[in-house]
């Protein structure tokens, strides 16, 4: 599987390592080369410096037609823009955006992008630890619940194991 990751922070570097070690073809892009220090020296994937919200940059880095695209920078809106570029212009199979604002996370799931919300996951986990009743909260990636306004071919995909 060809995987493209925008943002080489702790999360981006972590999933890049794990997928690359599992034998997948992984490219991770970050605007800051220092971020690549988070990767192991023998990281088996590709690390590219560049702006992951720029369509030309993504194309040159080989994002076109990737099977899976993770948008994992620290900026919710950057992740949203990169994810929508991937879905609309780069013909990527599956796209997941990290959106830490729960309202925006839910909104974009309804707009056809799979989202993962750290805030909602942590609040759920911490509440559960405190003995609050377990709510049917957000456990991981929320699959898209709606249709992307830009194109029906990115309608909520059938859930698949990553």
């Amino acid at each position: 599987m060809r995987v493209f990751i925008v943002g080489c922070g702790r999360v981006g570097a972590g999933i890049a390592e794990r997928l690359a070690r599992a034998g997948h073809d992984v490219t991770v892009i970050d605007i800051n080369t220092e971020a690549f220090a988070r990767l192991e020296p023998d990281f088996p994937g590709a690390a590219v410096r560049g702006d992951g919200t720029d369509e030309d940059v993504l194309r040159r880095a080989g994002a076109q037609g990737a099977d899976l695209f993770y948008s994992l920078t620290e900026g919710d809106n950057r992740n949203i823009l990169a994810a929508q570029l991937a879905a609309e212009s780069l013909d990527v199979g599956r796209v997941v955006a990290k959106i830490n604002d729960p309202v925006r996370s839910e909104a974009y799931a309804a707009l056809g992008i799979a989202t993962i919300c750290r805030t909602a996951m942590l609040v759920d986990a911490l509440g559960e630890y405190a003995g609050l009743p377990i709510e049917p909260g957000v456990r991981g990636v929320s699959e898209a619940t709606g249709i992307h306004p830009g194109g029906e071919h990115h309608a909520a995909p059938a859930a698949q194991e990553v």
């Binding site: 720029d54 919710d76 809106n77 604002d101 309202v103």
Partner: protein, 225 residues
């Protein structure tokens, strides 16, 4: 008319002042509290020190009754998110985004932003007008960017020399309407014969630019812009 402006940079600041002067009801959202206060000192309490990308702040600002939301921050991603939230969650009839990277224009339009303003493209168009190369020049955008007014200069080697409009093979989306000859603009008539030095003004769909280029400029077709 109720207008919400997002982003209190230079564009947002002057936009707010102009709209106020024109008698509209305005709220400006600027996330930097210092900048927000600075503007509020001048224009009054219509400035909220809030991040317009957050749904709840748009709701507080009354997005559900806004006629227009204009996202004019310096960051394309923020402007896109504001417009999408306004459109899809608050049913705002008209959303306007400032776009800095011209490559983002198509995506924004595709995702439902109603009006896209690209200062980069406008300045690019102005620069191109001053460059004496024989390419197509962008003069103006119409219909939200679907149509463009273009200028083509007929130079030596153009396949249009000596031909009439009826002999020129252009698709339906492309209409030539004026020729500027010796600095005089004349309507293009069926009997007009194109000659070297003519500047032909056409309205064209974006996807017909290559045809226009081939017929009037000739040689290798390089789309302007």
């Amino acid at each position: 008319m109720y207008v919400i402006v997002i982003g209190g940079g230079k564009v947002g600041y002057y936009l707010t002042k102009e709209l106020l002067a024109a008698g509209h009801e305005i709220v400006l959202l600027e996330k930097d509290p210092r900048r927000a206060r600075q503007i509020a000192d001048e224009v009054g309490s219509i400035v909220l020190a809030r991040d317009g990308c957050e749904g709840k702040h748009l709701a507080e600002a009354g997005a559900n009754r806004a006629a227009i939301v204009a996202a004019v921050t310096g960051d394309d991603e923020d402007n896109l998110v504001v417009c999408q939230m306004a459109k899809h969650h608050f049913d705002v009839p008209r959303t306007i985004a400032r776009v800095n990277n011209p490559k983002n224009e198509e995506l924004f339009r595709h995702l439902g932003v109603d009006d896209i303003i690209s200062p980069t493209r406008m300045i690019l168009g102005a620069v191109e007008q001053d460059i004496p190369v024989h390419e197509l020049l962008h003069l103006a955008q119409l219909e939200g960017g679907d149509l463009e007014v273009m200028e083509a200069q007929i130079a030596d080697g153009s396949p249009a020399i000596g031909r009439r409009p009826g002999d020129i093979d252009l698709p339906d989306g492309c209409t030539m309407f004026v020729v500027i000859r010796d600095e005089v603009a004349q309507a293009i008539r069926p009997e007009t014969v194109f000659q070297v030095g003519d500047k032909v003004i056409a309205i064209t769909r974006t996807d017909c630019q290559l045809d226009l280029h081939r017929e009037l400029i000739g040689s290798a077709a390089v789309p302007a812009g």
